[in-house]
Symmetry: C2
Subunit: 121 residues, 2 copies
């Protein structure tokens, strides 16, 4: 079992954000100890990882919550969830391409800058 600090560290998000996610009901299987502290199981860490991935794709909190609800609802929702993940795959692909474009632009600009800085000397 993991504390907020540990789980946040593993997921690469802030403790604030992790508490916010649990409060929003995004992470199933988060228990509380006898002092009311959040306890993350291995399973909930997996859910958290998925949530972070979906948020990274730009999926809104409300949609993620709906997805996690489908997740808990059993195998009847497999097709629905599959479709949702497909959409997120497209988003991730688009983000990849955009990051490549930004990188290309920055490298081109950096090249121009190097020339100008050299020329100035």
């Amino acid at each position: 079992m993991f504390t907020v600090k540990q789980a946040a560290e593993k997921a690469g998000i802030s403790e604030h954000t992790l508490r916010y996610y649990t409060d929003q009901g995004l992470i199933p299987g988060v228990a509380r100890d006898e002092n009311n502290k959040r306890l993350f199981s291995e399973e909930s860490l997996g859910y958290l990882h998925l949530v972070v991935c979906l948020r990274g794709c730009g999926m809104p909190i409300g949609d993620i919550k709906r997805f996690m609800t489908l997740n808990l609802a059993g195998d009847d929702t497999l097709e629905d969830r599959y479709q949702i993940l497909l959409e997120q795959e497209e988003r991730a692909t688009a983000q990849l391409r955009e990051a490549e474009e930004r990188l290309a632009m920055l490298r081109r600009k950096l090249g121009h800058y190097r020339e100008r800085i050299e020329g100035k000397k």
Copy 2:
């Protein structure tokens, strides 16, 4: 010369956001016509493109504004701007890797889902 609608279209952002950017002073060289309407020159379109790139890297509005101010200040700021662009190149690289990771995770999950959906039939 281009209208807000045209410039926003070219830059791939909303008209609202473009007005917001001009109001924040992020885009040099935006004129007004006799009816007070914003007019974007080719040059300002270039600045806009850069602003969108930097925002995409996650650079805050205030930092972008500072960068654009350096831009207008002349060749004395070349080195400073070069360093800033280098940082953004690193960010863009990190985003690229993160998008790849998300994509890998989603594709792995999609594979599992396909198996389970097939198995169910």
